[in-house]
């Protein structure tokens, strides 16, 4: 082998010498610069993350270290009134919880059912027709959904449950519309998970005499469970971070209530309202917004990591 390689090398050298070209590696400074830029572009995302942690962390530290703020009170206080120097995150957190819960009550069953229908029941023609419709639904900006919540869903709720029961701004309307917003996201992730289940599993079930539904529910769904879980968690994360719908339709002003027909401000809604106004830097209001932002970041970050872990597990099984 070595002998042969040597011979080839020598032949090569002879050819290049006679042709007058060198096969030696040329120094290419241009490519070196390009490679440097590419690495910088790749590493830039790390800078973004560090920037987020630094920006949120710095202001949040200022907030937590100020004498008016007590860490225990922050997590357990039931009033958020920066003017009165009362910083208890519960009213905001509970409003976020309510809208997220309502959104998930709409989006998880509907999203899952649509995904099962598309992947297990619909004909390919129908699927090709419906998937773009869902993509359109997913591509509509959230401010449009906010408009829809305020001008359609709220009047609808008020005419069904009575004007004295449902406030003009309420978390139910925001939550329901948020569910519609998240539906296509859950559908497309869940459908990916379901269609990734190998055909052989389905065929085995059919050959044992299972109906289509039994195959879908008892064979395909359990096989895709980690992918489905990932879809649901991403949906929750999206609902927690969703801003415009709640900013428009859920109400302005922190309000500790469990009644979904009353107005209440979520964490994201509060951030938008406070920072949308004329805010003086270095005031405790300004810092408090960043503290909420930090909570939000960690919450969605954890949810995303869990979701990714589920997806990873799912990939390991079938790929």
């Amino acid at each position: 082998m070595e002998n042969q390689a040597d011979r080839m090398l020598r032949a090569n050298q002879k050819v290049t010498e006679t042709a007058g070209i060198s096969l030696k590696k040329r120094v290419r400074p241009g490519e070196f610069i390009i490679q440097g830029f590419l690495f910088f572009a790749g590493a830039f995302s790390i800078l973004t993350t560090l920037g987020i942690l630094y920006a949120l962390g710095k202001e949040a530290m200022l907030f937590f270290s100020s004498p008016e703020v007590n860490l225990v009170e922050f997590f357990t206080g039931t009033r958020w009134q920066p003017q009165a120097l009362q910083f208890g995150i519960l009213p905001l957190a509970i409003a976020t919880l309510i809208t997220t819960l309502i959104a998930m009550l709409v989006a998880i069953p509907l999203g899952l059912f649509v995904a099962i229908y598309l992947s297990e029941f619909a004909s390919p023609g129908l699927r090709n027709l419906l998937k773009p419709v869902l993509e359109v639904l997913a591509g509509i900006p959230t401010v449009v959904y906010g408009y829809f919540a305020l001008t359609f869903m709220t009047p609808l709720l008020r005419s069904v449950f009575g004007r004295d029961v449902v406030d003009i701004y309420n978390t139910a309307s925001a939550g329901l519309v948020m569910g519609i917003l998240i539906l296509p996201l859950i559908t497309s992730m869940a459908e990916d998970a379901l269609s990734a289940v190998p055909r052989s599993l389905r065929e085995a079930a059919y050959s044992l005499g299972a109906t289509r539904l039994e195959t879908a529910i008892q064979v395909v769904m359990p096989a895709a469970i980690s992918g489905l879980a990932a879809a649901f968690i991403i949906g929750i994360s999206r609902a927690v971070g969703e801003t415009m719908i709640v900013a428009i339709a859920a109400g302005a002003g922190p309000n500790l209530t469990l009644n979904p027909f009353k107005g209440a401000e979520t964490m994201t809604g509060h951030i938008v309202r406070i920072s949308g106004g004329d805010l003086s830097y270095d005031s405790i209001d300004y810092n408090s917004v960043f503290a909420i932002g930090l909570m939000l970041f960690f919450l969605t970050f954890t949810l995303n990591i869990i979701s990714r872990a589920f997806v990873q597990r799912f990939r390991e099984v079938y790929e």
């Binding site: 790749g42 920006a55 029941f121 001008t151 289509r212 994360s237 970041f297």
Partner: protein, 426 residues
Amino acid sequence: MIRPQNTYDRESESRGLSPLFDENLPTRHKISTVWRFIFRLSTIIAVIFLALLLYNITNQAFGYVAIENRVDPASLAVNEIPIEEMEKDVLIALLRENISSGLMRQLEREKPLSEHTRDEVYALVIEKVVRPEAVRTWLLTESLFQRNEIRAQMAQEYPQAELTFKSWLSPQFLKVPQSSEALHAGIRTAILGSLWTVGITILVAFPLGVGAAIYLEEYAGNSWTNRVIQTNINNLAGVPSIIYGMLGLAIFVRSLETFTSGAALGFSDPTTANGRTILSAGLTLTLLVLPLIIINSQEAIRAVPGSLRQASYGVGATRWQTVWHHVLPSALPGILTGTILSISRAIGETAPLVVVGAATFIAFDPDSPFSKFTTLPIQIYQWTSRPQAEFRNLAAAAILALLVLLLSMNAIAILLRNRFHRQGGN
């Protein structure tokens, strides 16, 4: 359900099945049918929501309006000449007589009145002197099916007002700037603001995003750093957009204020000196869409067959030559599709820009990256937040404009993707 035992046994035995199987079969089929119906119903509900959303917006964007003039145009007639027939000079004089000197100076500063055409001055007179006002608006469905009730109501409640059918979305609406009078408000400033911001976003995000994708797919090995970068990008794609707004506020608006306000380059516009500029907004959106562009571009680059690279290396090309001459051209349609979809996400973003500090009211065109800004979604948000019904109509018209823009971008992306698929199949 109870059948004679003997038929049962014979039938089942001949097919080799247990009697239970046949007994359960009708129930199982029934359950199957019911659930199938539920699944189909869910899908129909999802489609109905989309239809309702579009219906609701169209319903608000067109319809009857009752317009009342605050000043009767007939009372403005000079020497029995109604204002419709007046010369430009007379109109200017009329304008000067009827509005405050401060407003007059402001108008002159924007563009001297003598340079306006006669029709422009006439429009100004209507807007500033006659001051028509929408006292009541109706939905499209009401306007179509309850015309007589509306007329009766008009005669009773607004005898002075004039009833006209108005399309809130009109060429005029796209051309005129923001105004506090709903009848004269338009989205010109908002559209220009959106174009400026997204222009900056594309300029920065496209090279950075594609560069990162090339690095990760073609250069990076499976080292620890590169895995961290990849995980980090995936996580960034899931960070709520409002967090990017706060990042933009802290970094671009505050820390880098001298650059984003243009002070470092000698722009010393006092109105924009606080860093809440188009540049800050564009850079914030850049950070927001970068992970999406990277992930989409990576997929497109990954889809390029390895044989292409091998062939290029085989004839002695360097790694960059391979990427530039072979990988990129064949991945380009996919990269462009992903970029267009990411950019359309940037066009629709509202929350981060509110946090970065979009202006609540500007009526002049942005003319540099250091101008104050507003964008189409911000304008929609502000109009929606106002209590008056006519601003809801304006918001609906602006939403239609935004959706048309986004849908045409998506259509382009889908066309590109189809082309890509066809090439891939060959």
